[in-house]
């Protein structure tokens, strides 16, 4: 048979797709460099605009009033330099992974964040996992039972959890499950004097995960429902049915994977807000994460720590977005490197 009037595109085999993924990864990492620089400069300037400095609070708390001492401290922390010089020094230090020193914890900023980071990562990962699982499942159910009781139930629940502020939801969960029912701990990450076993931490993780994750589950449920209904209208679904596949087979093998794409997209965009949301939730549940540290540092004008968290937070968001890009590529073979 004569060939078509189109130059044959070689099929991307497994190894070729892996190579393409690596290429994407390299490209995204290179793009991350100017992005990070921008993040550092903007955040540094924002902090400069904030009233007062950590030095004032520090001297006040320690009742230092001797001008000579204050001047010495200013010189030690480099506060006498012009702002642009401070910025350059900060960037230079960052290149050596030096985020400054936190007088409050009396340790380098990076160390203070490092101690709090695992708790936050744990909370974020579990919340996102919960949101995606519940959201996708609820969206699929709603789309398959469209305009029935189940569809309405999902819609109402999604509306509720979308509208409920997370701190309020957190407090209500505490009232119900900790105070009234006594099933789950009020806050913290482990019992006082506990050994930090896996089960103990998971037990403490349940409520903060629900409080943070259900908001996103609500969004994903809505997006997934409409995405499923949209994909179900497409031609290839009719082809699949003409092959003799049952409705469930068509939904699982043909509709679901295509419908997931928008969810993955918003997942990437929302990584930053999940991090921001965890600040609130960590405060409500006394979860010993970066959010608690940030909250504490803002109230104590511990600006080096605030800045450090913002920079590292941006790094986490950038990394998460790269991961989302890779997932997207794996889900949709049409995505080529751009």
């Amino acid at each position: 048979m004569a060939g078509e009037l189109v130059s044959p595109t070689p099929a991307l085999r497994g190894s070729a797709r892996r190579a393409a993924a690596l290429k994407l990864l390299r490209r995204r990492l290179i793009q991350a460099v100017p992005l990070m620089l921008g993040v550092v400069v903007i955040n540094f300037c924002l902090i400069q605009m904030a009233p007062g400095s950590f030095l004032e609070l520090m001297t006040a708390e320690n009742q230092v009033s001797d001008p000579a001492t204050v001047a010495l401290l200013r010189k030690t922390y480099g506060l006498d330099d012009p702002v642009w010089m401070q910025l350059l020094k900060y960037i230079w230090a960052l290149l050596h992974f030096d985020f400054g020193f936190s007088y409050r914890q009396n340790m380098p900023v990076i160390q203070a964040i490092w101690i709090h980071l695992p708790a936050t990562i744990l909370l974020m990962v579990s919340s996102i996992a919960l949101a995606v699982t519940i959201g996708v499942a609820a969206g699929v159910v709603a789309s398959m039972k469209v305009r029935t009781f189940w569809d309405s139930l999902v819609s109402v629940a999604a509306m509720f959890f979308y509208a409920a502020p997370s701190f309020w939801l957190g407090i209500m969960l505490i009232v119900l499950f900790s105070v009234k029912l006594g099933w789950l701990p009020v806050g913290g990450m482990m019992k006082i004097g506990g050994n930090g076993g896996v089960l103990e931490i998971l037990h403490h993780l349940i409520l903060p995960t629900l409080a943070l994750g259900l908001f996103y589950a609500a969004i994903y449920a809505r997006v997934m429902r409409s995405s499923m209904l949209e994909v179900a209208q497409l031609d290839f679904v009719r082809t699949a049915r003409a092959k003799g596949l049952s409705r469930n087979q068509v939904t699982i093998h043909h509709v679901l994977r295509n419908a997931l794409l928008p969810v993955v997209t918003i997942l990437g965009v929302q990584m930053g807000t999940v991090l921001a949301g965890s600040v609130v939730i960590e405060s409500v549940f006394s979860w010993p994460g970066v959010g608690s540290l940030l909250f504490d540092s803002v109230s104590s004008r511990n600006y080096p720590v605030v800045l450090g968290i913002m920079v590292l937070g941006s790094l986490v968001v950038i990394a998460a977005n790269i991961a989302v890009d890779l997932i997207y590529m794996w889900l949709d073979p049409r995505i080529e490197i751009r």
Binding site: M1, E4, V6, L12, D235, F236, R238, T239, P333
Partner: protein, 325 residues
């Protein structure tokens, strides 16, 4: 006597919409013998595609539903069958090819996966055997470089290659009936000819009955044995392909043939179009649905709907003017 592969009798499909009930397919009857090709022609919205989807029992419900008639597949009426039984029939006894080949394939699944799926649904083949068979099928439909295309995704293939994949899926289980709904409309002219030749060859080899839906009379002349002309949900004329082109009886058929460009015709000669539009199905005139656009309209046409009559052997027409002449 062996029953015919496909026998449709008085099929009626209605769209139940907010603006009222619309008779999208109104009393369609047709038979297709083994190895025979019956073309259904007509303008957009005349009920061609809904007829095909009715035969497949793949109507979007709501709003569309079969309200009467029979669809006998190898002697068995499939209209009253439950959906579970239909699952074993679609893709196995009756295959379908669609208009837009690229969007007819799942964009995130490989060609192999999509062909293997239909084989594993209807046959006893294991995954490995199904893969081998998928490769054979791709070679059968003339896919260039078939072994490599198995791993390809639809977006990496041209429209013609995608249509070959769709055809491979449709004939994978050797169905006795193949429905092709405008299978060449979305393709380049050169590729159209290749796909038509392929369909003809496959049909001849397997002795499949084929329904060929199109609005392109050139394609009809090339592929069909018999032609059914539909207008506003009804069959208005049926004839063998030669009779139809030599001596069209219904004014609508005459109009359709007149509106088809013929090579070699005088350039100055304008194509004759059919004035007006297909009436909306919920506002059909009381008499003949074509009467408002018909050049030979008579008083009787406006008051009374013409029934199908047989002016000759193997011919049917629903027109008072054609009867009279």
């Amino acid at each position: 006597m062996k029953p015919l592969p496909l026998e449709v009798r008085d099929l009626r499909t209605t769209l139940f919409t907010r603006r009222g009930e619309m008779k999208a397919v109104d009393g369609l009857s047709l038979t297709v013998g083994p190895g025979e090709t019956v073309a259904i022609v007509g303008e957009s919205g005349c009920g061609k595609s809904l007829s095909a989807l009715s035969i497949m029992r793949l109507l979007p419900d709501p709003p569309a539903r079969i309200v009467g008639g029979q669809v006998k597949l190898n002697g068995r009426d499939i209209v009253p069958l439950p959906e579970e039984t239909m699952l074993g029939i679609r893709g196995k006894e009756i295959g379908m090819i669609f208009q837009d080949p690229i969007s007819s394939l799942n964009p995130v699944a490989t060609v192999e996966k999509q062909i293997v799926e239909v084989l594993m649904t209807h046959t006893e083949l294991g995954r490995g055997q199904a893969r081998v068979r998928a490769h054979e099928l791709l070679e059968l439909v003339g896919m260039p470089d078939a072994a490599r295309r198995l791993d390809a995704y639809p977006h990496q293939l041209s429209g013609g290659m995608c249509q070959r994949v769709v055809i491979a899926m449709a004939i994978a289980c050797s169905p006795s009936v193949l429905i092709a709904d405008e299978p060449t409309t979305a393709l380049d002219v050169t590729v159209q000819a290749q796909v038509l030749a392929l369909l003809k060859k496959l049909q001849a080899d397997a002795g499949m009955a084929m329904i060929f839906i199109t609005h392109d009379l050139g394609v009809v002349a090339e592929t069909a044995d018999r032609v059914v002309v539909m207008y506003a949900g009804r069959k208005v004329e049926e004839a063998s392909v030669d009779d139809l082109f030599d001596n069209p009886l219904h004014p609508y058929t005459v109009g359709l043939i007149g509106a088809t460009p013929t090579p070699g015709a005088e350039r100055a000669e304008r194509l004759a179009d059919i004035p007006g539009m297909v009436p909306p199905l919920n506002a059909l005139p009381q008499g003949c649905a074509f009467a408002p656009r018909c050049k030979r309209v008579m008083d009787r046409c406006l008051a009374e709907r013409p029934a199908l009559t047989a002016p000759g052997p193997g011919r049917l027409v629903a027109c008072f003017a054609a009867e009279g002449s």
